[in-house]
Assembly symmetry: C2
Homo-oligomer: 336 residues x 2
DNA sequence: TTGTATGCGTTATCAT
DNA sequence: ATGATAACGCATACAA
């Protein structure tokens, strides 16, 4: 029966014909409407199964006004930290039959803005996003959006979105305090831009640790700009050109950590000479020698909660923030 | 004017009214139809701009029969290798105004199958996928799909899809040959399931290298099952319980590499004692000491080509395969 | 060149 | 409980 692999899509009408009922009845059965007789339900379900009918999601969306799609807008999906969030988020959303459109901002504010346009046009039911910036520019984009928004590790004042925030402060505080207890006074701090939540929050922990011992944090060792490997590497070089260089380094993010580690390698500085603590876990950190300590946060949990918060908002819930703990993972051999 | 942030979506009708023309004229202008007068174009464009009109992608899709959406179905997005492919793919697709639905198979064949259903129902214009398996089960899912398909590093006989394949053979051949030239005879090979392209292809290089020197590959050192860290770690332990253990190891994939490295660490075997070569790059490999050698392939290029092949298919092009080279990156200090 | 009218595949409102 | 029909927002065949 050379059927010719043509457009063999089966529509609701086909099901109706086969079952010998009206289109509307098919729809009712398949959408789980209460007022349908047993026999009708059986007839329709059989016909639908026989034909392998799958409703056209497009038409459903147009009619229902909901796409069952969430826009996942991310700064940098190449960063495993984010891709793990994306994955766990997708797994959670899928349970409620939501799909995820992945859209990348590549660290650019203007791309981010146009992305909002794309997602709006595609009528996503919500956006989960790790924003590039927390500027008023972005704020406007967010405000013009009617669908629910869940922010990842970002906080924008005067905006009513849900957000998944990490308690960087406590983890960084512990890490810094540990270094101070080991006799380090000159601890460098390298991280992303100062105007975003994560950096402010981390810096807070760093400074509080110093202050808890009545010490002043060494401002000359704080280097904030972006999360790129390039920046961190350059700053590492600069730091060790100082007359009074650091004896320990805290670096935020995968890129920054890589930059520092590569920088140190170029400078032929061993990790035994300078203590390094990364502010984000990296799968193989425990293989580096000596074991690198880090401040850990769990991206899988973050993604899961992001999805949950989104679903709550969609179901009419109030916006809320959830705080994910961070923990200082001490892999220092000396401490054991 | 407290407008109340209500559904303020602007429709084509609003634009038509403001411009004082018919709906169809607005549509024509906005879709770039040829036969429109200068004045009409100006009127409409102004009205559209004033109102900030954005066509409803949903309605367009339903009408046009094309969603401008590609399903990106991946085995494991947590693997940075795949997330980089996803990212570069999205960047390329976006240039042609395509969006990407990310959907995860989590290594499960049945999930993979249901994913095909989801994507079909969402009427994606195509699927780019790194399949879990190359079984006939999957083959059926693929065959029932009318939209174009691009496979990543998978090859299914008797199926006319485009695919981005990596030339693992040559890279692994070089790596194995190098090890042999260094006097290693007992080289272990740990990788994923034998029934997928990538494993067959790698194994091929491994065996050919032995054969090129008229040697028989040591079958007892070949361990194939899956890409999990668990499997690789267990096999590593087993290998070194042998009376005649390997002196070098090749491991395929991020998970496998991690498993071997962790296994060796547990066994307190130094990387100076056993030579390890990874069959996939990992960002921090060069920081491990001594520098780990690896067989490198470029995920960014892969993603880009996957997108290009997809767009070609959509535009009516014939299916084709493209071969991405792999290179043996020797980071052995001794060799320099 | 421009306007009118139909249809994309559903769901939901209205009768019956 | 079931069937006919309007509506979702747009693109296009056809008429003017």
């Amino acid at each position: 029966m050379a059927k010719g692999k043509k457009e063999n899509r089966v529509h609701i009408e086909d099901v109706a014909k086969r079952a010998g009922v009206a289109i509307s009845s098919v729809s009712r059965v398949l959408t789980g409407h209460k007022a349908v007789s047993e026999s009708m339900r059986n007839k329709v379900e059989k016909a639908a199964l026989d034909l392998g009918y799958q409703p056209d999601h497009l038409a459903q969306s147009l009619r229902r006004g909901s796409t069952k799609t969430i826009g996942f807008m991310i700064r940098d999906i190449m960063n495993p930290f984010f891709s793990i969030i994306a994955q766990s988020c997708e797994i959670e959303l899928r349970k409620s039959h939501y799909s995820m459109i992945l859209i990348n901002s590549a660290g650019s504010e203007s791309t981010e803005k146009s992305n909002f346009g794309v997602l709006k046009s595609r009528r996503v039911d919500g956006i989960i996003s790790s924003l590039v910036s927390e500027s008023s520019f972005t704020k406007n984009s967010l405000n013009s959006f009617t669908a629910p928004i869940v922010l990842l590790d970002r906080e924008i004042s005067g905006l009513t979105t849900s957000s998944v925030l990490c308690d960087h402060t406590s983890g960084v505080f512990d890490a810094t305090k540990y270094l101070l207890s080991q006799g380090h006074k000159r601890i460098a701090f390298i991280s992303g831009p100062e105007n975003i939540y994560v950096t402010r929050n981390r810096l807070d922990g760093y400074e509080k640790a110093y202050e808890s011992l009545n010490l002043k944090p060494p401002k000359d060792l704080i280097r904030l700009k972006d999360f790129s490997e390039k920046f961190a590497k350059e700053e590492t070089h600069k730091l060790f050109k100082m007359s009074n260089p650091p004896t320990a380094i805290l670096a935020g993010g995968i890129g920054s950590s890589g930059g520092v580690l590569h920088g140190l390698k170029e400078l032929k500085i061993d990790l035994n000479q300078v203590k390094f603590i990364a502010l984000d876990e990296w799968p193989f950190f425990d293989l580096l020698s000596p074991g690198l300590s880090s401040v850990h946060r769990d991206p899988e949990t973050m993604g899961k909660y992001a999805a949950k918060l989104m679903l709550e908002l969609i179901n009419g819930g109030k916006p809320k923030s959830i705080l994910i703990p961070t923990t200082f993972k001490n892999r220092d051999r000396a401490s054991k």
